[in-house]
Symmetry: C2
């Protein structure tokens, strides 16, 4: 240890000779943090300590005091379970105290969580579900290279185990396609997963062949040789051709002889005596504070919204909501340069083609890689972009784990799923979104919107731009009559009453295609002298509980709700939750939803088969009236 | 056309010279079928017609009259949208009539659906969600090579667009790891996706580099040259080293000059005059019937269950349900050789380690590739295996689209998700399954089980073995007291009443960890003189509607339901649906669930934070009693 590295002193960058001492500190602190918490992943931290010591002290251009500085590099910790190492880096950067590390790690109501999340200002996206950090990083790199034209670089540390996730290969393919030379992937190849060896072990050549075939430049190094690490990282500046992947051969548990390269030490703190002796051998506790290279000074891109001129539609005109979505998004894009779109190679179906025509430079084709699409939208949102990602509703389920993680990342994720339900007809069940409402509604803090006409669609698209968290717009394949004039408002959490009179005997609730069926059912019932109130529940979550409870109360507790979705977790479930949110004295519900595996057919045949067409809604209304 | 290929005649295999004529028939029929339906994907069929003509007539060993013959090869149509081609193959095999092709395709209540499903006896798994057929095929190949020791081969036809899906690379990696030389992948590289060119176009060399790096043997051919096709397919017999991938350069729309290699012809039938002239140029309608090579005669593996001896547990003993799952599965595996297990590299956490110890030859490590894991379980189930696939509940969401498709495949898919909810403690939200119940409950025909103790866990594992469709067992990280003696029965669709008296004032419903909290709440309430009925809702779907309605009616309509899951789509939603399935006159519900993004902490801290611990349940009970 040199004099200039005494405890508590501050440096701007380290001489390479000093890096091992910093690495030793990161190791000691990783061991201490996990030991203090009684859980965590010290061995997965030890393998990457030399990588992170070299990175933070000599290559990561980062102003730790200003994590939002637009020129800052981004460090994405894809192997999030190695959080002891990341938090030890924060201590070494002088932004987390030793006390916080020792008393806060993995504790309740503390920010040093078991896996990193953006409750920490230096974390862009939450990790811990392996295979997500790198795809998220692709989104941040896309923003830097293709939107912000910023000099920042994105450094992603991944494990080797997580290279088994297909999402990682979607990320590599996308990084190559978009020539993201601002993305540097560092793979900590410590050969051991949670329960045993990885499929490829230390076969770095095979990893290299794979990433090279996917368009990367691979560099193979000894991940404990700081000279090799340093030279590889220096290529981030000179390599302008292909995104760089540093494949680092490492030893899990490196620095603690008792656990080095041993099985059964994943996710466990060291035994106390082993930890004590290891810390002593590593030179004991240090409190070196190091500042790496400064980021370049760059201006943040201007973020303002101009005047918005949404498309309007004539009531009665037949327009598919998926087409209205595209038109609305294109208009939004004209008003706000932050609006970007992504699609999973179905833009001519989802409606996004309209946006692409008008704003080709703000559209990213993600091909058929929905996980990467959602991850890219997540990454883009961390840079302040208003990213809308679309595919068939059915295929958004491909990205369910990424959607689940978006609220943990505190990301504003805007999703649009077209071709909802059996309504699509002949293509059959593989293409029918019948589970999408349940998936998104169960996502923490989400907003679920399901418009029935073009006017409400564009109004909701506008609101999604300002909605935080995960928001979802469900659109329909077929064209249906416009129901509303452009003066109508559609607040999130509201509903519309389309038919109403004092003598209403039953409430009919629909959204999307079933709203049109409910209107037809009301006509049919009217001919029999039965008056039905009809509610457009365009906001499925939050649902208009007050409005729906009032309507149902006004109709003697009698209500029919119909949805083009399975019975679980969709519109009906939201209505039932609203109706029972207060004590109930009189309630008779019929819930019509899709049960059974559909086949092909035309829309009318399939709505009838599913029992969600006007005829079945009217029949259900008669049943509740009899009951 | 040779005399021996006159209409309606039958052949066992074709001379290579005759294959182009068969290919022309497949093209003509693909055009006719899509034209008759007014929708479908003829151009995607035309590119692969020569591939399929060669395969079906000279390489696919298949007894069309006996689709269940154990020696039959398997044809997995991963690019399921090219169904006109597949159904034309069925016509050429003599198992679908021309009339059915022309009048049944894509029609309501007909078996020739827009995308193939196993309502057709020659289809193993449903396709149409791109990127699933090949991973499913890996499961079938695993069964053939590692369980059945059968000579059958699995031929998977994939598109090039779907190679963008990460799941395809999980499949290649898995095929290489398990040396599935019985799997032949044929990639129809027609360079055009739905909305435009693919990322790699006709760059077959890059595809070859990628699949070779993933451990395959790549063969590059002209996909319209039947000699090249034939030679490549013949390698399936001689290649014993690596799984074969045939990369076939093809032209989308091949055979119809007006649309060949043209954009904007995806998923559209040809215009009538174009179709008429193309059919004429292709030689008009034919009705050749061809039988390819016969499959080898092999015996089906014996499928019987021996005597089952489930582990038993002492009431009061503390056992984690995840550990009980492993013990139960190991016992089931001892009784039934069809039982196999798969895990996503967390077997020491999910409990499956116990099964691996006892039945290592029936365990497949899927590493961290949950999509492939679920697909492999799907494929294995088509071969009669009782496959259980496990990971953390949170990470099963990675495979949501595969789970969605399982009912379309009519597959019996058994999933087990451990580490449910905030109960897990310090690891934090990325590892907490809080959406899993919603995901599986919304799956068509699914069964959702959530036991609270070890005894009920093993009883439910036994029943899962005989449950059709998608079934799901949710397990808990921590160890909790065994509640039941081994004599108790836990029928799917039932519930258990653990506390009950005539004077019960409120019903408390829980499952998993919240059942233990509900019992503690009942104790707390009892001290205040409030009697609470406590119900173990171990069967979330189907839920015990009758039992729950009776309990709630007996307690004046007062009910508290608590779950370690988000409020949407889980236990509470199931209870509400049950309570409102019949007219309601008096109901006061409090639904306690997890809202907000959790952090780290210990179990007690997090259950309290989420408001689902005994104290909050008791408080909610007091509220409904006041209300």
């Amino acid at each position: 240890m040199t004099a200039s590295m005494s405890h508590g002193s501050m440096h701007e960058g380290l001489d390479l000779l000093q890096v091992p001492d910093l690495a030793a500190q990161l190791r000691v602190d990783s061991i201490r943090a996990a030991g203090s918490a009684g859980s965590g992943h010290p061995t997965s931290s030890l393998s990457a300590a030399d990588l992170l010591a070299t990175l933070m002290s000599r290559h990561l251009r980062y102003d730790w005091q200003h994590p939002d500085a637009p020129g800052n590099d981004h460090l994405i910790f894809s192997k999030g379970h190695a959080s002891p190492l990341l938090y030890s880096v924060y201590k070494a950067a002088g932004v987390v105290s030793d006390q916080e590390l020792m008393e806060g790690y993995r504790r309740f109501d503390q920010r040093l969580e078991g896996h990193p999340t953006p409750v920490l200002p230096w974390v862009d996206v939450a990790t811990g579900s392996l295979g997500q950090g790198l795809p998220d990083a692709v989104g941040i790199a896309l923003a830097g290279k293709h939107l912000e034209n910023s000099p920042y670089r994105v450094w992603a540390l991944t494990g080797d185990s997580e290279l088994a996730e297909g999402s990682m290969w979607e990320a590599f393919a996308t990084a190559a396609h978009y020539q993201l030379t601002n993305l540097i992937t560092i793979v900590d190849v410590n050969r051991l997963g949670q329960r045993g060896p990885t499929a490829l072990g230390w076969d770095l050549e095979t990893y290299a062949a794979r990433v090279e075939a996917f368009g990367m430049r691979a560099v193979l190094i000894d991940g404990h040789d700081v000279t090799e690490i340093d030279e590889a990282m220096a290529l981030a500046v000179t390599e302008q051709d292909r995104p760089l992947v540093i494949l680092a051969r490492t030893v899990k548990g490196r620095g603690v002889p008792e656990v080095e390269d041993e099985l059964n030490w994943h996710g466990k703190p060291l035994e106390e005596d082993v930890a004590r002796s290891a810390i002593a051998q590593l030179g004991g506790q240090r409190d070196i504070v190091v500042t790496g290279p400064r980021p370049p000074a760059v201006d943040a891109p201007p973020h303002t919204r101009g005047e918005l001129s949404l498309p309007t539609f004539e009531p009665g005109e037949e327009v598919a909501t998926r087409k209205a979505y595209g038109a609305g998004l294109a208009a939004l894009g004209a008003a706000d340069p932050r609006v970007v779109a992504l699609d999973g190679e179905v833009s001519n179906s989802t409606g996004v083609a309209t946006f692409i025509d008008e704003h080709p430079d703000r559209f990213f084709e993600m091909f058929i890689a929905e996980q990467q699409m959602v991850a890219a939208a997540t990454g883009l949102s961390t840079r302040g972009y208003i990213a809308f990602a679309s595919s068939f509703a059915a295929f958004l389920t491909r990205a369910a784990d990424f959607i689940r993680m978006a609220p943990v990342s505190r990301a504003d994720l805007r999703l649009v799923g077209s071709h909802a339900g059996v309504e699509i007809g002949a293509d059959g069940p593989s293409q029918m979104g019948l589970e999408d409402l349940a998936m998104i509604a169960a996502t923490q803090g989400s907003t679920v919107l399901y418009p029935s006409d073009a006017t409400s669609t564009v109004a909701l698209v506008e609101q999604m731009a300002d909605t935080s968290g995960v928001s979802y717009l469900r659109t329909t394949r077929g064209a249906y009559p416009v129901l509303y004039g452009s003066e109508e408002r559609f607040p999130v959490g509201g509903s519309k009453t389309l038919r109403s009179s004092d003598g209403d005997a039953v409430t009919l609730i629909g959204a999307g295609v079933t709203l049109h069926q409910a209107l037809a059912a009301a006509d049919e019932l009217a001919e029999e002298g039965i008056r039905a109130r009809v509610i457009d529940a365009y906001s499925v979550k939050p649902i208009d509980g007050e409005g729906i409870r009032a309507a149902v109360a006004a109709t003697g507790g009698r209500v029919v709700v119909a949805e083009d979705h399975h019975a679980e977790g969709g519109l009906g479930a939201a209505v039932l939750a609203a109706l029972t949110a207060e004590p109930v004295s009189d309630l008779h519900v019929k819930h019509l939803a899709v049960d059974g595996v559909p086949g092909s057919g035309d829309t009318a045949e399939l709505l009838a088969w599913a029992g969600i067409d006007a005829e079945h809604i009217a029949a259900a209304a008669r049943t509740v009236l009899e009951g």
